[in-house]
Symmetry: C2
């Protein structure tokens, strides 16, 4: 039984392995700096074998974007109904982790868009999905001057959140190009980005929700700042 199964799975496994290695190399060196030959060398397979699965680097990139879209759909679904505050908070590190896992996309997005027209509509759709998910939660969970946000205020706030989610890693990269995108910075980058988005949303939380999210006061902090910490479950 095992042998035919394994034989049948081999091509799919090779295709998946190629994607795994390509993603790691793109993330590490930037997509423009990684050739298909470098990918096949890294995998110890022939360029012809790579070509059989992915006849151009653009095909590889598009396959990785399909994975990203799948992961985005799962992250949005995991946030639960729009009135679930904890699900909403979890969405922020979830989306930042996704941006981290596919950081090659965001690192060279403008360059990739110039060369790959298919990416254009897919990136726009990915941003629109994130914005809609955040906007729905902002409308349910945020207040200003004791009132729910207007449609336009909710749109503006959700755009700001999406810009932060999308470009947080780029900002960290400018601040520290040699370390920001290295694998061991993953948790710190997600944590800092989460804190940043929470600081953005903080003035829009009702007093009840603020109390719910605020840990006990600590001696070296003013009363407002502990609330900028994500709840323990969110990171």
């Amino acid at each position: 039984m095992t042998t035919p199964d394994r034989a049948k799975k081999a091509p799919r496994r090779t295709a998946e392995r190629i994607l795994d290695h390509s993603l790691a190399l793109f993330n590490r060196y930037g997509e423009p700096n990684v050739s298909t030959n470098a990918i096949s060398a890294d995998l110890h397979i022939s360029p012809g074998n790579l070509y059989y699965h992915y006849p151009a680097k653009e095909v590889l990139v598009n396959a990785l974007v399909s994975r990203y879209e799948q992961a985005l759909a799962e992250a949005l679904a995991a946030a639960g109904p729009t009135d679930d505050a904890e699900g909403a908070w979890n969405l922020v590190p979830g989306l930042l982790r996704l941006a981290w896992d596919y950081r090659f996309l965001f690192r060279d997005l403008n360059d990739l868009l110039t060369r790959n027209r298919q990416l254009e509509t897919r990136c726009q759709a990915a941003l629109a999905l994130q914005q809609a998910a955040i906007r729905e939660r902002v409308l349910r969970l945020c207040v200003i001057d004791g009132e729910p946000l207007s449609a336009e205020e909710a749109s503006a706030l959700s755009v700001s959140v999406v810009v932060l989610l999308t470009y947080w890693l780029s900002y960290e990269y400018v601040r520290d190009p040699r370390r920001a995108l290295e694998p061991d910075n993953a948790d710190a980058a997600v944590r800092h980005g989460t804190r940043q988005v929470m600081a953005l949303l903080w003035p829009y939380l009702g007093a009840a929700l603020r109390r719910q999210l605020r840990p006990g006061p600590t001696p070296d902090r003013g009363p407002a700042m502990p609330a900028l910490q994500p709840p323990a479950s969110a990171v």
Copy 2:
């Protein structure tokens, strides 16, 4: 008198003309896609003449960054003292206009940073200058729950503003790659980015300042949104 003066100025003028044309071409096509040969052809000068003034594309880029730094210093000085609310509002479109004028830098910043180590410290300094200028004004002019912001809250808010200022054009580019960075989109891009930053700051304005900035209500809008409009002098 005129002839010797003109003769003396000619080399400087050529150097300046090269910078003007390079900036226009970089902004239009992206720095990685413009060769020094393309620049000399655009100027109708020989590659050797260009080489005499700027022996490498990196030297050209660094000279443009010097111009950018000069313009940044002027924009920050023009904002006046830190407690001048109108100066603070004017700073936002001023910095966005600067990002527009040098949009090639922000469009391919990660790629440029990888290739040009000198840019690293200069970009970090430019971001730090902007953040400090915004943070000082946030500490003077913003409030939350009727109190001035804590040091940490002011830092977080000023980082969010800097991320928006730095990446707004990239965001517009993803949303509409064929039009976002074309010259005739300049005013709209600055206006949209200004609105976006103002929406970010809106919850932190005291009631008195909100009243000062809020135009009369218009029939098709809720009471909050007119306040997200910049004052007439700010755009």
